[in-house]
């Protein structure tokens, strides 16, 4: 269920759930931590062997997998820690400075 919290700063006390419980599980996905990073991972699809290691090692659930294959990184949440690049057995992932990219994700 969607819990509308856009205006939560203005809520009267009684509008919060009892005991300040959070009724929408996993809603932190709407909080974007992607702005934290100074580097982003880029994966070379030709070199990637789809071992899935990056998926298991990512602290931020930011390796998107479909049909048992890595398809993309979740740049809304990736903090640029670089673990995926360091751990990739095929060296298919490299870290690039954020400043190398336009806001729309295109490389400068």
């Amino acid at each position: 269920m969607k819990w509308e919290i856009a205006d939560i700063q203005q809520w009267p006390p009684g509008k919060h759930e009892l005991g300040h419980a959070i009724p929408e599980a996993g809603n932190s996905c709407s909080y974007k931590t992607g702005g934290w990073r100074s580097e982003r991972p880029i994966r070379d699809e030709e070199v990637c062997t789809q071992c899935l290691f990056c998926y298991f090692y990512c602290p931020d659930s930011s390796v998107i997998v479909q049909g048992q294959k890595v398809v993309a990184f979740d740049l809304d949440h990736c903090k640029g820690c670089g673990i995926c690049a360091a751990e990739c057995p095929a060296d298919a992932i490299t870290m690039h400075l954020e400043t190398d990219f336009h806001d729309d994700g295109e490389e400068e």
Partner: protein
């Protein structure tokens, strides 16, 4: 005993932690959580957590990263809180008021487990509640600014064992929580690490399937507190295991089983200590004996573990 499956099987398991939490870049804690919860397959799960980095970062009101039901109450009582929920579940199930089966898991850092949380863990284990206790162990009270814990290694700089004119960091060797847990005669205890996710997930699977209490003590990197590179989080854990500082093993109904023996590829503790700023003072002249003492202790403990394992194998 844990049986490792292919990543292609594990990847089909639900990722029960969502992104958007506030853990540091490169933090091992969420790697522990994501992989442990994959061991729960598709059981409905109730999660409890002790106050600490994991808890504050994943449940900062009004956001929660937990896709399952989750409860936090206080610092020293994750085991007690979850044991109450688990016992209530059993009561409701017995009375026919609930029909689903739930799995219960409590997460605590070494902060909330080794010291202030030891009593409530011990009580819950002794009472035999059907739950999994996972200690994500990064060797200090990181959330409050890296103070020493009972798990901090000898010689480490922490903010309560700083390196000063007369003191080279922590003066004591650390506790062995895994063996403390095993001493409670519970069905399953295992030591694991974030670097070997297949080993970790398979152990979590056994833990969840175990009837009764199960404890996982998992090496979790803290780049901030260890003064180390975030991208090296997994590699550092790998090296710590490779040196036998953090052996991978299980205690199954009291029998010790070592899961990984580096044999002639065993490395010295100094090899990974050099990567962590919290030990940098030990590599200045005059502090060599501290590294030696830690190495001696690691070797002695590893030797002892091998003896326990062969004793178990021989029975």
């Amino acid at each position: 005993m844990a049986t490792k499956l292919s990543p292609k099987i594990y990847v089909e398991r639900k990722d029960r932690l969502s992104g958007g939490h506030r853990l540091c870049a490169g933090c091992g804690a969420s790697v522990v959580v994501r992989n442990v919860l994959m061991g729960a397959k598709d059981y409905p799960v109730v999660v409890g957590a002790a106050t600490g980095c994991l808890e504050v970062s994943t449940s900062l009101y009004p956001y929660t990263s937990w896709k399952d039901s989750y409860i936090h109450t206080a610092f020293e009582n994750a085991a007690a809180t979850v044991s109450g929920a688990e016992a209530a579940f059993r009561s409701l199930k017995k009375q026919g008021k609930i029909d689903k089966d739930y799995k219960f898991v409590a997460f605590g850092g070494d902060g909330g487990t080794y010291d202030i949380g030891l009593q409530s863990l011990s009580g819950a284990l002794e009472r035999g509640h059907d739950f999994v206790y996972v200690c994500y162990d990064n060797g200090a009270y990181m959330n409050t600014g890296f103070q020493r814990s009972g798990s901090t290694p000898l010689g480490a700089w922490t903010t309560t064992t700083p390196t000063g004119k007369v003191q080279p960091g922590k003066l004591q060797q650390r506790k062995n929580l895994t063996q403390i847990a095993a001493a409670h005669n519970i069905p399953y205890v295992a030591q694991a690490s974030i670097h070997n996710f297949r080993d970790l997930i398979s152990k979590a699977e056994v833990a969840f399937e175990t009837e009764g209490p199960a404890v996982l003590v998992v090496l979790s990197t803290c780049p901030r507190g260890w003064r180390a590179e975030p991208s090296q989080s997994v590699e550092m854990a790998r090296m710590m295991v490779q040196s036998c500082y953090w052996p991978l093993y299980e205690v199954i109904d009291g029998d010790y089983v070592i899961n990984f023996d580096p044999k002639d590829k065993k490395i010295d503790v100094a090899d990974w200590m050099k990567l962590q700023g919290r030990f940098s003072h030990l590599f200045k002249p005059g502090n060599e004996n501290v590294v030696e003492r830690l190495q001696t202790n690691v070797d002695r403990e590893w030797d002892r573990l091998k003896k326990l394992a062969s004793l178990s194998a021989g029975e």
